[in-house]
């Protein structure tokens, strides 16, 4: 076993010992251990945070709080990456380039620059020369360092895979997933394409901003977009002092998410406070499109049904439509799960202030306790909904997102039911049923 493998084992075992059997404590200790172990484990934590189908809710939500910030790279190294990517000196690419980074994380760091000549982006108005840009650069050696850590962690993962206690977490599979996610995150062109798609999807929404991509200055290791200024969700007091209407933005933020899931079929699955901010003109800006989810038309309808049933406290209907999303209850346990979910709905959602987070955590907890496998898409969605509620609460603490979610989901279901194709499909059956009734 290499020295690094030993260091990893020590950190992980230490986290387990310090937790004293408490799940919440273990989650916190593991998150801290990942932060200490560096970039590969920060990425691993991010993979865990989007796998509610494998891990318990405590771990999934704790990993969202991972601090991904590392000391900045010297500017010469960043400049070298950019110049190698485009084969030209930095002065020929930008009117100005700021050597002080705006942000520095394990895989990439961001610098401010100025656009030299006007550019027509894929979506939206032309960016004039002089536009302030955000240049995201993959740190040289980041991919190799993480791969080396993945290799160091592999023997441990294989050993855990053989243990009955840890096998269900599929540690070896998780490492494979980490490698795949790493490959896609190190190619910034993918993120640029997703950003363009989101900008296009919300082109008619005056309250949404997605930074426009400058493609001639974008490559595998460099992503250049317009720089959008604003307040992080942790700085909202300043936003409120500047007259931003937090309540309107919170409601709109929830509707934007519902539109992604229920109408467009593509949603930002890595929403957290660092990926969102509020602009001085009162709009919501989305950043970082590394992880996205998709929903098929059938899933969209089932999600709308589950959402509407949840908001209106109908446990039976919520579980029936959850089955269409792949949630299979073990035979003989249906009634127990239904009763537990109904009680949870009553405790958390029946009366204001409704607690969507407590409901979602409790719901995933019930599934965990009843050994019900959570389909990946379903888990991601529950988690994304909780995050959206958290973001909405950061914008306006007294917000009740079920007030927006209920009518929205009902409209989607009603539109589906009233669609001419649906009526045509159901009409003959209804007529036949009526005739049978008349004929006695």
């Amino acid at each position: 076993m290499s020295a690094r493998s030993r260091e990893i084992s020590r950190a992980l075992v230490g986290a387990a010992l310090r937790s004293g059997g408490s799940r919440a404590l273990f989650a916190r200790e593991l998150r801290r251990a990942f932060e200490r172990l560096g970039p590969a484990f920060v990425k691993l934590g991010q993979v865990i945070s989007v796998r509610p189908d494998v891990f318990g809710p405590e771990l999934v939500f704790e990993m969202e709080a991972l601090q991904d910030s590392v000391p900045a790279l010297p500017a010469e190294q960043v400049r070298a990456v950019i110049e190698r990517e485009f084969g030209r000196p930095i002065e020929a690419l930008f009117a100005d380039f700021d050597d002080t980074p705006v942000a520095s994380a394990s895989i990439a760091q961001v610098h401010r620059a100025t656009l030299a000549t006007e550019y027509r982006p894929v979506v939206g108005a032309v960016l004039p020369a002089g536009t302030v840009l955000a240049v995201k650069v993959v740190r040289p050696g980041a991919e190799a360092a993480i791969r080396a850590d993945v290799e160091a962690a592999r023997p441990l993962a294989e050993r855990l895979e053989r243990s009955r206690r840890f096998a269900r977490f599929q540690p070896a599979g998780l490492l494979g997933e980490l490698e795949a996610s790493l490959c896609s995150e190190c190619d910034l062109r993918r993120e640029a394409r997703v950003a363009d798609r989101f900008a296009f999807d919300f082109r008619d929404d005056p309250l949404m901003v997605v930074p426009r991509v400058v493609w001639p200055l974008t490559g595998r290791r460099v992503l250049t977009t317009e720089f959008v200024d604003g307040w992080r969700l942790s700085e909202l007091d300043a936003a409120r002092r500047a007259g931003i209407d937090g309540r309107a933005l919170a409601v709109h933020g929830a509707e934007v998410f519902l539109r992604q899931v229920l109408e467009l079929g593509r949603f930002h699955a890595d929403l957290h406070p660092a990926n969102l901010f509020v602009t001085p003109d009162g709009r919501i800006c989305y950043l970082d499109f590394g992880i996205t989810g998709t929903t098929s038309p059938e899933q969209r309808l089932a999600i709308a049904q589950v959402l509407a049933a949840t908001v209106y406290g109908d446990a039976e209907r919520a579980i029936r439509y959850s089955a269409e999303l792949g949630l299979v209850l073990p035979p003989g346990r249906e009634q127990v799960v239904r009763e537990k979910v109904a009680a949870l709905m009553h405790d958390t959602l029946a009366t204001p202030p409704r607690d969507v987070r407590a409901y979602a955590l409790g719901f995933l907890g019930i599934l965990n306790a009843e050994k019900v496998a959570v389909p990946l898409g379903f888990g991601l969605l529950v988690k994304a909904l909780v995050t959206v509620e958290g973001v909405a609460r950061a914008l306006y603490p007294d917000i009740d997102i079920t007030e927006a979610a209920g009518p929205y989901a009902t409209r989607v279901v009603a539109r589906w039911a009233m669609h001419p194709a649906r009526i045509a499909e159901r009409g003959p059956a209804a007529l036949r049923a009526a005739l049978r009734e008349l004929a006695g």
Binding site: F86, G87, D196, R197, W215, R220, L438
Partner: protein, 112 residues
């Protein structure tokens, strides 16, 4: 009564209901068409008559549109949406080509 007779009787009853409903509908359309502005809110019967007349008008418009091949506003907006989507896909392709061009340019030997 044999089964087939029962069936004929049932269908006759159905046709009778249909005919009566059709006559009722035509009468409602006629009453609605002769309503003066504001009369539709007189009560439930007036509302149904007014609504029937409006539906009949829309039916005539639909017939005329189908006969002439003209497009409705809804259809126009669906074409416009498809055009928007096409424009986006072309622009997206342009973006990818620009990025590819930048990568290819980077491969040029330094002395070129």
């Amino acid at each position: 009564m044999p089964d087939n007779e029962q069936f004929l009787r049932f269908m006759a009853a159905w046709a009778l209901v249909h005919e009566t409903a059709d006559e009722g509908w035509k009468a409602a359309v006629e009453r609605g068409a002769s309503q003066q502005p504001g009369e539709m809110s007189g009560g439930p019967e007036d509302f149904v008559d007014g609504l029937s007349a409006m539906i009949a008008e829309e039916k005539e418009r639909l017939k005329a549109e189908l006969a002439s091949g003209r497009m409705r506003e809804d259809d126009r907006s669906s074409v416009s949406e498809s055009l928007d989507e096409l424009r986006f896909e072309l622009a997206e392709l342009r973006g990818r080509i620009e990025s590819l061009q930048a990568s290819v340019d980077a491969l040029r030997p330094a002395d070129e």
